[in-house]
Symmetry: D2
Subunit: 442 residues, 4 copies
């Protein structure tokens, strides 16, 4: 893996050290996370921050307001005596989904119409809430408040990732195709990864899920990661790295996008309706030897310069079809978690500032964390004994347990301190605008 | 359970004895299954047999042709020397989905336009194929041919169920609301079921799935039921019977259809878009004490006369919401299978000729088979080591392993000899036109 | 024009003499019109009569019931003392649109679900109403009743045309592509029409519209044809015959279907969305020298055998684009009516039994009546002083005076006694399933 | 009519004198029109200028760029030797529809994604083109260039109106409902208009349309206003003023929005699908005596303060239904033009800076120009002998001659110098976001 902070171009200015100190105090962690959000949005004009280029995405400005709304609604209003909201309307204006709060939030597709509040007002809203939070954090806080701050920080980190995936789509949708960062990618790794290898695991009962320390209000996982529980796994093998663009090109060259037998029924229907012929962000380019170029947060790059990096922005349907075509399959989430057990949360993550998957550095178990979220074969359901959080906070995860697939591992735009081996991401199987890739199992 | 063959009104004329003899010979079983199909369609005018009243359904005439096409395409053409098809066009005309066969089948929504071939021609097609099958079955057959006959019979049994669910919807859609059978329901069971009880199971490793005897070409399960494999289950309880209309009315009376917190996000969206207020086939009726009446294959019945029968024609979203509202949950398919282990395949099935769920007869573990398919909490995926059948026959099940939920147990229109404890039915979570109900777990 | 009754294949059995006698008595006319409807439907199986293959069309069975409903609702119920309806439900079941009647008619797209009432019941309904009408017609009738009978007969004649256009579409939609009549077309006219010629008219004030004799209850026009009124026309020329398939092929060969500059904006959008490349019912056929074949009510015919017949089943958008491409335009309806003034209602009409446009016989002003309805450049609006009929009968025409274009002249499936030079037909500009063609103006 | 320039609040700063001088020189007129556009956009933040809140509308920023593109594409590139475009991409980026130009313009619904070019860049584009135009206008120009400048100025004036109608919709769509201008309306006219009176006209031949002086390159009309031609009109009466909100409330109070007999068939379908219950921009308000409030470019106003002003933002379907309900009809465009013959182009127009219809000042023939565009009963078609401009410029009007209705007179946001009595505006009959109202005829 490339050494991120020193060699990568245009790394974010957020103090990585600050994040490391997070364990020293919630206060420091609050500052670091909020600062990272500012850093991601820094220098992006207000007009760009208004764009909502597909129904899945939200404007960058909205993300900044909504994450702030979370702290105001769930922490400051109930726990900071005398707190005065900046504007009462923001209570419903920046709600995303939480039906239990009583007011109806504006419909998602209207977020692009939110020219008001202006970016300036949103920034003022952030400052207003930050000041109040400083006040709260500087003093003693009860456990429930602390738990909500931790949840709010994790929530904001999720939106940090979305800010980058959404602005990538926004810039791709703009006819002028601007870049988020001007400096182009340079590959630190010149050696093509060798053929992937299988890591083998024996059959038996294992445990997955997060064992939350209820006594420690700073211990955290999302409710859908708990409870920790036993599962029985057959013996399996899992690839040591993600599928590369080079490998995916073979699938395309074998006309897989035009052969129904490679696909799930709904996948094939999607391929036809959407006229998919390649991953999202790939575009024909006769000037490259591969015939393609790829749009990144650093602008266009010829595919030939990225052949050994993980294929990215593929849907579950494409991941599944690729695996079938290769005579393999996708791992289940339990298999993935077992394979990741004990690994450090390191990799090509947000802090690297690369914003694009990188080639696997070696021949070990690589790329588990970072680069791309990895589609699993597991539909998103509750673990045995799953209990959502009470009240509105419980609407966060359990509501969505139908029709979605689990992804594991994190991507090149996920904050490092946000991840765990037990982390469960989930999207509809046709989703492509996230940094989503493929790891094979057998 | 009511004693079906003697007391039920209008039982089908198919010889139940014939089905029992099935073990004695494939030939007899072929005749019995084909005869049951004729019996289901008997007396239904050609015009009624053309109706396709919703995208999920197909015309009754089409089902008869398609099941016949299966034998012609997969058995007679490859295995009966000198077989002459009745009409060459039927090869693609009555294909449903099998992409690998090379020709493109007519789009499903066009099945209502198939005035030609006429019902008379379809009947002639059935006779033509039956004659050739008699020829084949009377002589020795290789194992693969025999396997395909068994598969074809199971395929036809699935369509027997669909013939009844589809004609029910067709008659409901007709402004005159005709009945499939004229004789009305009479309840054999006057005793309301008592409050349901939990059957408890301990945690541990168990096995589910079907262990197919590869050496016996008459042994059968669908490919998605295999391989038999170990799973780890936490301890759980499962209800001794299905949820009744009476119990479901309480859920409705608590305004559950208007409260988002009861529902999965996609469920709530569906409720609003479809304006659901009750199960399918329920209609307001001021003349009944409950305020409702229910449309059955035997015409309208006041809900008050069916209060203790299982609630039916609910979607997964409604089953899930009901369970949540009751403070329970739906069973996983493994839990269901464990609970059904060792039970006989008996109950209110197609052969009873009731065509409508009946009240639970006692306080044991009832209604596992028959009455209603029971929604489970398990999304439909392949078992560990799942292998689809080779070629076009493999398109049957594996293709649909996304976005659907598992149902278990069979309904009042499922043929008895078609079921196994390992049987996996699956539908999209918004599906309601099937006989689908609820069993609770905890 | 070919001599229809003697040389045309498969002429309808309705007594043409009977229609001529219509002026002798309303009673005879009633019998003749009703008999023609029976003749059109004769021999068509009940299954074919249920098909509704596009939203514009209705099943043949429905047409027979709806036209009968008209007499029952507007004549028998109010004017025949002691009339007993066959079934009370038919009152709303076979209503098409008349909102004022109080009940809501079934939605149009559900007509294909009307397996009940069966064709047999519909035929019984026709007989029941015919018997009552015989009773009414045999006795004296007041003027309003007589007016409504005349309107009902004209209404039924409109549906006679629709029965044929709709069954043509139904058979075309059936994968087996059956023919309505088995006997194939033979061209009576072997001489290709010469280049068309312009008939010239001078500028000035003229009168159009029908001058209804209010004192004569048998005098008839639709309300939208009145009042007769003055219009000022610039000098103009109008072609002596309709545009032929040969001429339309030149337009296609000039790639007009791929050049936006030939089309109105909405026309171009329609061409792209519908992927139009030729008129409806044209299909590629490599075996014909033209590369095309045409589906008719008598089955497929190579285009090369129909080159000199009028192009048919084109939308207004195609007619308009063709005219622009030729450097011409379409006539206004006033121009058309002036050109048709004094012409006899003769031509290739329903009674010819050809059911397909025929080549122009000479060099005079030909094909005004019959062959194809001719798109005009006039949107459908009310004439100055237009008054709809009172009550439900007034919903017939005036309701539709937006978004539609006027067509003039009648087609090869319009009954002769139904037409007038002042007759105004109207359809949306994208409509193609009617027999619609092109006459140029300049 | 209120005296606009002195008493109206917040009048635009554009020099009205400058517009009057337009006849003195094209150069002065160019400056005045371009200055008016700047004035309309002045003070509107870049974020607001990006919003596209409905498919009909465009962002304010886009209007400024597109009108500038017109001069660059049709005037500077062909006629200014040595002209250097600011950015080559703008050639296709700001094209709206002109297919003949070769490149495909971005799809309209994507205009909201145009965060780049920024408002700043668009402003620079305007300056760049203005500088070049100054250069061109300061020197001699050939006639075709001058004609195109005049056309470009009229084009820009059309977009001035759209800038205001579109920003009104954008602000209405924003949950915070901001106002375009802060100062509220004050009624200059306290006297309610009396019952309207009919102006009567005799039947006969009259002339409508614009007689363009081909020799004078500064004479101008849109191609669809020519040629001047004769029409025959029956005698008619036309109302002396527009229908007021008070009168429209009676129509609403009579439940017209729920009675199908008041509506054209397509109108009724639209009412149901869109759930219309009142004009656009009306909202329930229990605090006003009328029960309604109205959103204006100056924010919310109680309906009770606007009762005597013309009803506005109604569709053709509503105008037509209102007229039918009143026992009247809408005028044809020829009737309107005859009634307006000889009237001065004066009224409540853009220059008044009111941005909202005002009460009729007296009892004469009022409100012909300004306040609201008036729906006519005439579909939009070409006049006899209509010839579009050659090439891409001809795509402007003729392309849209299907499915739209003519409006006459101009609105409170139309520039005075843009109008003529012969001016033909046109929109689809369901359009409501324009300032569109009703004048009755009989």
């Amino acid at each position: 893996m490339i050494s991120q902070t020193t060699t990568s171009p245009g790394a974010l200015t957020s103090d990585a050290a600050g994040l490391r100190e997070a364990s020293e105090g919630l206060h420091a962690r609050y500052r670091a996370v909020r600062s990272m959000t500012r850093s991601i949005a820094a220098g992006i004009p207000a007009e760009d921050q208004m764009v909502q280029s597909c129904p899945d995405a939200s404007p960058m400005k909205w993300h900044q307001a909504h994450t702030t709304w979370f702290f105001e609604t769930f922490v400051l209003r109930p726990y900071l005596a005398g707190y005065r909201p900046l504007r009462e309307e923001f209570r419903w204006l920046f709600n995303s989904y939480y039906n239990s709060l009583g007011e109806e939030a504006p419909e998602k597709h209207l977020r692009a119409s939110l020219s008001r509040p202006s970016l300036e007002e949103v920034t003022a809203f952030r400052s207003h809430v930050d000041a109040a939070m400083e006040n709260l954090l500087a003093n003693s806080m009860n456990d429930e408040a602390a738990r909500r701050v931790v949840l709010g920080l994790n929530h904001e980190q999720q939106h940090q990732e979305l800010m980058l995936t959404d602005i990538k789509h926004a810039f791709f949708s703009n006819p002028l195709r601007p870049a988020y960062r001007a400096i182009r990618l340079t590959e630190a790794c010149n050696v093509a990864p060798s053929e992937f290898r299988w890591h083998r695991f024996h059959e038996g009962v294992t445990e997955i899920g997060y064992q939350l320390d209820a006594a420690n209000c700073l211990d955290f996982c999302f409710d859908n990661e708990a409870p920790r529980h036993k599962v029985y796994l057959e013996s399996f093998g899992i690839a040591n790295r993600a599928v590369t663009c080079r490998e995916y090109l073979e699938f395309m060259a074998d006309n897989a996008y035009t052969r129904p037998e490679c696909w799930l029924s709904e996948g094939w229907e999607t391929v036809r309706k959407q006229a998919w012929r390649a991953p999202l962000y790939w575009e024909r380019d006769a000037t490259d030897s591969t015939g393609w170029r790829i749009f990144t947060l650093r602008g266009w790059h010829p595919l030939s310069t990225l052949l050994d990096t993980p294929v990215c922005h593929v849907s579950f349907f494409e991941a599944d079809a690729f695996a079938r075509w290769r005579g393999c399959r996708l791992p289940s989430e339990a298999e993935w978690e077992l394979a990741a057990k004990g690994s450090q949360i390191r990799g090509n993550l947000l802090e690297s500032g690369r914003f694009q998957p990188a080639a696997a550095p070696g021949e070990g178990m690589d790329q588990l964390f970072g680069d791309c979220w990895e589609w699993t074969a597991s539909p998103y359901t509750g673990y045995p004994g799953y209990m959502p959080l009470p009240g509105a906070l419980g609407e966060y995860n359990g509501k969505f347990m139908s029709g979605q697939m689990i992804l594991r591992g994190g991507s090149c735009v996920t904050p490092e301190s946000h991840l765990r081996a037990t982390y469960r991401n989930f999207f509809h199987p046709a989703t492509r605008w996230q940094f989503t890739g493929i790891r094979l199992a057998a």
